[in-house]
Every structure is written in C-alpha cells, then in structure tokens.
C-alpha cells in the first residue's frame, strides 16, 4: 500500500481516505461498546476476590519467620517515601522477615507495573505499594494476588478490589478535629482565627474544614471564633498574599490554621518577617523540612502531620499479619503492630494509622522529609 500510494499526486490524496474513514466510523457508532453498556456487565462480573485467600482468619496464629515483603514506593529517592519504607523494613527485621524497597525513578502511572511483575515472579509473600495510579496497577496486582501474594497499599490507595488492605495515614475526622484542639491549646482557647486553605474545591481540605467547624460547636471552644476561610490555591505566592490580607483585615486575629503544606509554610514565612511574629499563631499541616526554620525562629510552636515512620512500620506489620493468616482483610479483624499496639480493620479494608503526629522544636530534628 505504501508503494502504490506514493504515486498519487498530492496531500489531498491522504485526506480522502481519512474522510471516508470518519464517515464509516460515524455509521458504526450506534450499537458499539460504550461506558453505559459495560457498566452493568462489569459490575455483574465484579473482579473475583483473591481466590487463594483463606476463608477465615486465625487471630492467634504466630507471625511466620522469613516472610519476604517488598515496598514499592511512588518513586525511589523521595525523602518522604524513603522514611516510610525504611521504617517498614525495620518492622520486618523485628519479626525476622526479609524486606526490601524497589521502585521506579519516576512517579508516572505506568512505571510501577513492571516492578509489580518482577515482585510477582520473585514470589514475594507480600507487596506493599504506594500507588501512582489507582487503576494502572490494578491488573498486575490482581495477578499477584491470584498467585497468593498479599497486597497492602499505603500512603496512596489502589482500587479497593485490587488490594487486601489500605493503611490510611490519618482519618479525615481526626485531622480536622485535632487542628482545632491544637490551635485552642496555642491561643488559650480564646479569640478570632482564620483558616488558610488550598483551593475552594479541594476535597481533603474541605472535609477537614467541615470537621473543624463541627468541633468548634463544642462548649470548650465557645470563645473561639472562625472569622474567615481564605484560599491560597496551594500556590506559594497567593497563600503569602492571602495571609497578608487576613492580618490586615482582622487586627484582632490570634491565629491561622493552614491545613495544607503550601499554605502553612507561606503563612509562616509572612508572619516570620512581619510585626505579627510572636503575636499571631500559625499552625496546621506541614512537613518538617518546610517548617524547620519557622519552628526554630519561634514563629511556629507546633504543627501536625502523620508520622511517616509509624506509617511504614504499621504497613510492615499488617503485611506480616496477612501472610501469617492472623487477618484476611475483613472488617473488624484485629492485629498487633509491634510497638504501635493493636489495630482494627475498618470499612473497605482500611486501617487508620491514628491521630495526626505533632511536630515541635523538641522532635523536628528527628525528621528529614
């Protein structure tokens, strides 16, 4: 075909077949496989649950020795993920398992897939993955599970049909409520405050803010008043300017809660260089590396996030409990995660790490992420 078509005369010759193609496509458009037509059949043929999973859990089963587990982070050499995975590897050492971290150098949707295949071929007992794309990893994870490999997601979940457990770093409710408690502690339970959020439609932040507002209705917070929710759009410059605006508009402002890592560091930077330093409290959710400077210079007394070490440690123990048959991933099952104590599996196979972790001048230097 290539050979004959080069004899025709101009580029229009190429457009002809294209048009014919388009028309014929249009004609076949009715009656094909569409999203609507497969939705029904797909849910009917819902992915078979991992057939190899034992029917019932034995909570008294001991943790087996020599369990092989592998951590597959979003990408390697990411300081946050390195801390998580190292803690998980330490957990495995406690129960005499073999653990390792492997992963791609880029966090693209597909790059984890070949690693899942490799780990499946290596017959690991469990794969622990922070999924880059909830769906792209799904097929290979199902394949791993069909060979009896347990799959635990942490930090970032995959579709829930494709894993046994998800270790959730924090529940939305606890994140929201604890922010109010922390601010109340910092400003003595009295005064005006504002929230500096991400974008107006950011799902996580809006959920947290709802819980904050609900927490404020409790009697012990009756003297605290939320004057405004500002949006810095998770943009450093915009968050910086919004902070400035808040402080000018509300001269009696006692504190700012920024439940976003971009917002809290921008707010701290503004306050740290202004006359409000030491007068207005900044707190929220941030990372130690971004906040270290402001904690050291006294602008920020404390802020929260989850403890990545505990996250990895818990994931490591959860994998061992699955492999040893202590749990199957069903709601209500319990297992013990070493020094962290007992955990109960919640709805949809989720295990919640616990209340957010508070960073302050006393512990911030233990963390590098």
């Amino acid at each position: 075909m290539l050979i004959s078509s080069r004899r025709s005369t101009s580029a229009t010759a190429l457009i002809g077949p294209v048009l014919i193609g388009l028309v014929s496509i249009g004609l076949t458009a009715c009656g094909g496989t569409t999203k609507g037509s497969t939705a029904a059949s797909q849910s009917a043929a819902a992915p078979a649950p991992a057939a190899a999973a034992p029917a019932s859990a034995n909570p008294d089963a001991p943790i087996k020795e020599g369990i092989k587990i592998a951590f597959l982070p979003k990408q390697i050499n990411n300081p946050y993920e390195t801390i998580v995975d190292k803690a998980g590897i330490e957990a495995a050492a406690e129960y005499k398992g073999e653990a390792k971290e492997v992963g791609p150098s880029d966090a693209s949707a597909s790059s984890q897939v070949s690693y899942i295949n490799t780990l499946t071929q290596q017959r690991q007992d469990a794969i622990l993955i922070a999924a880059n794309d909830a769906n792209a990893v799904c097929g290979p994870l199902q394949q791993a599970r069909s060979k009896g490999i347990k799959v635990v997601t942490y930090d970032s979940d995959a579709s829930k049909d494709c894993r046994d457990l998800f270790i959730n770093q924090a529940s939305s409710e606890e994140v929201g409520r604890s922010q109010i408690a922390m601010l109340s502690d910092l400003i003595g339970g009295k005064g005006e405050f504002a929230i500096l959020s991400a974008t107006a439609n950011a799902t996580n932040q809006n959920t947290w803010i709802e819980f904050m507002k609900d927490e404020l209705t409790k009697p012990e917070y009756k003297d605290m008043k939320l004057v405004k929710v500002a949006y810095g759009d998770d943009d450093d410059q915009k968050s910086f300017q919004e902070t400035q605006g808040l402080l000018q508009a509300y001269p009696d402002l006692k504190g700012i809660i920024a439940p976003t890592t971009v917002g809290i560091s921008a707010a701290a930077r503004y306050v740290s260089g202004s006359k409000y330093k030491g007068k207005v409290v900044v707190t929220g959710l941030g990372t130690p590396n971004q906040m270290r400077e402001y904690v050291k210079n006294g602008t920020v007394e404390k802020f929260a996030l989850w403890n990545p070490k505990d996250l990895g440690y818990l994931a490591g123990y959860a994998a061992a409990a699955l492999v040893s048959g202590q749990i199957t991933g069903a709601e209500g099952e319990k297992f013990t995660a070493g020094r962290l104590g007992e955990y109960t599996i919640g709805k949809d196979g989720e295990v919640i790490l616990g209340p957010p972790f508070t960073f302050d001048a006393g512990n911030i230097d233990e963390f590098d992420f």
């Binding site: 580029a11 294209v18 193609g21 094909g32 999203k35 497969t38 949707a109 071929q121 794309d133």
Partner: protein, 345 residues
C-alpha cells in the same frame, strides 16, 4: 528507476558495504540478545518462565511498534520525536471519548486517524517548509502533549470494557506472546519486507544516503517523507490505544519520555542517524535487548540507577564501536575510494 536506486545504495559509505569481514553491529546486538536470553535462563530461575517473558514482551509492545516506523524515518535521515506525545494525546482522547459515552469501536479508529493527522502536520512542516524534522518534532512533542492535557486535564479515566483490556494483555493461546506483540510481529514482517525487499525500501536508503542524488534519480523524496511521518503518527496513536487498554488507565501523561526509549532502541539496533544505513532486524534485536536486559536486572534486584547506567553504556558503545571498527579497517587496508565524508551534523 531501479538501477539508479541501486547505484545510490552502493554509493553509501563503505563501512556498511562490506560486512563480510567483520561482524556487523546489528548481528552483534543479536548475539548479545541471545547471550542475555541464555544467561538469564541459566542465572535467574524466574526469567525464562512463560509468565515473565509474556509480561516483559508485552511491556515492550508499544515501544516496538513505534520503533518500526521510526526505523523507516531514521533510514531516510529524518526523526520523529513527537511519537510519545501522540501516544499521550491518543490516550487522552480515548479516555475523554469513552467517558463521554462513545463506543470503543468508534473511538479506536477515530483516534488512530487523528494520530495520522498529527503525523501529517509533522510531515507537511518538514517537507513543504523544508524545516529540519528534529526541530519540528521537538515543537510538536510539546504541542501534542499540551493538547493531551487540554483534552483530559489531570484526570484519569478507567473502567474500559474488559473484553478490550484483556485483549491488550492476554497471551495468544498456547504461547507466552501477548496479542499486541503478535500484532507487532506481523507489522515487523510487513515493515521488514517493505524496507529490505522493495523499491520503496531502497528509495529510503537512497534518500538517507544522498538526498540530492535520490532526487535526481527520480525518487519523490518529499512525498515519501510525508508518508513516513503519517505512518509514524498513525502507529504512535495506535500504540496509545494499546497502552491505554493495557494499563486500563487513560491519562494525558501516559508514555511521557517514551520517544527516548524508541530512539535508543533504533540507535542500539545499529541504524545510522545520518541516514542511509541500518537493518530492521538490528532494531528489533535492539528493542528486545534493552527490554529483556532491564527485566533481568530487575529480577536480580539491581537498582534503577544501575539499570539506566547499563542501558546508557550499551548505547554509547553502540555508537562508538562501528566507528572505531571502520577507522581501524581504513588504517589497516587503505581503500582506493576516498573515506566517507564526516557526518554533517
């Protein structure tokens, strides 16, 4: 026309013309591939299993398909760096249209045609405006990827029909060969015949070796180049469909950087980037060598950094070796014909 074309081919630099004495690079790559296969099977119990080979081959499917079209372009001394962006645009379009309730049977041909149009744009810019393809396709690399983000944004669309997604990963019954790889094999045969056994193929070598000579020999240089770009875009878009179904996830960033993997395979396969030299067999061996070597290294828990160092070294060696061999040969046995002109890049 035929005699002129043959003359043009024969006029191509002496390095590839008398392969008899020394091992040709593409043969060497093939031998290296065999060594990896044997070494892998002997040294790693997981390597030569049907499950692993099926996956490793499937993982190469898109790169391999695009490499076929790229080989034709590079032989004709052109290059298309926009292929991965066309793949991403195709993936984004599949996602957006599927989400919009279109039938997959409509979406696939439509997207493939759009890929052809992307290639046509590249080809027209190169042939009608006389722009270098490197510059044009670096531009459209950014342009088509940008369009992909316009189409789908940061979203990911999933839940494609299971019949189609399993077609993208399942093996042909009784073999460890996934359907897309089988399709690649068919395309490879067609491309191989077209490149090495037809007048069309010989005219590509002629264009790559000496474009003016080819032109005066009556070869319709611009027309052929235009066709090659259209083929490249079409294949890239089809690869985008396969990619989307294989991962079951349509995203605008799918396949980012894949063009470098394709170029690397073509380079490793011994195709000269100055045009006019190379074999399709070498490219196929190059694709398989890079992919299977990486798979083997991963199975042995070699870190990502070392993997890229190994691949990088292999590429550098593949560029240097043929030139060193050619230089050594010239020194030993001065040929009566003048040495080939230095690459003009």
């Amino acid at each position: 026309m035929a005699p002129d074309v043959t003359a043009a081919t024969a006029a191509s630099p002496a390095t590839a013309a008398n392969p008899g004495r020394f091992l040709r690079w593409d043969v060497l790559v093939g031998l290296l591939l065999v060594a990896v296969l044997i070494g892998g099977a002997a040294g790693s119990p997981e390597f030569a299993t049907a499950g692993n080979l099926s996956f490793a081959l499937g993982d190469l499917g898109e790169i391999a398909m695009i490499a076929l079209a790229m080989t034709l372009l590079v032989v004709a001394a052109e290059v298309d760096l926009s292929v991965a962006s066309v793949l991403g645009l195709s993936s984004a379009l599949v996602g957006a249209m599927w989400d919009g309730g279109w039938a997959i049977e409509t979406i696939i041909p439509l997207v493939v045609v759009i890929g052809g149009v992307c290639g046509l744009v590249n080809g027209l810019l190169v042939t009608r405006l006389g722009l270098p393809s490197l510059a044009v396709t670096i531009g459209t690399l950014a342009l088509y990827r940008g369009l992909a983000y316009v189409v789908l944004g940061d979203r990911a669309v999933a839940e494609f029909p299971p019949g189609y997604t399993s077609l993208a990963v399942d093996d042909v019954p009784g073999t460890p060969i996934p359907y897309p790889v089988m399709l690649f094999a068919l395309l490879a045969v067609v491309t191989g015949v077209a490149l090495h056994a037809t007048g069309f193929g010989r005219s590509l070598f002629a264009i790559g070796a000496q474009v003016e000579a080819a032109h005066f020999a009556g070869i319709r240089v611009k027309r052929i180049k235009l066709i090659l770009f259209v083929v490249s875009g079409t294949v890239a878009a089809f690869a985008g469909v396969v990619y989307t179904l294989r991962y079951g996830s349509a995203r605008a960033d799918n396949g980012t950087g894949l063009e470098l993997a394709v170029i690397a395979a073509v380079l490793l396969g011994g195709v000269d980037f100055d045009g006019g030299k190379g074999t399709l067999g070498g490219v196929i061996a190059g694709v398989l060598l890079i992919g299977l070597l990486r798979n083997l290294l991963m199975l042995n828990d070699v870190s990502t950094e070392i993997q890229s160092i190994v691949t990088g070294l292999l590429l550098v060696i593949s560029v240097i070796t043929p030139r060193l061999v050619a230089a050594a040969r010239r020194r030993r046995r001065p040929s009566p014909s003048p040495a080939p002109p230095p690459p003009n890049s």
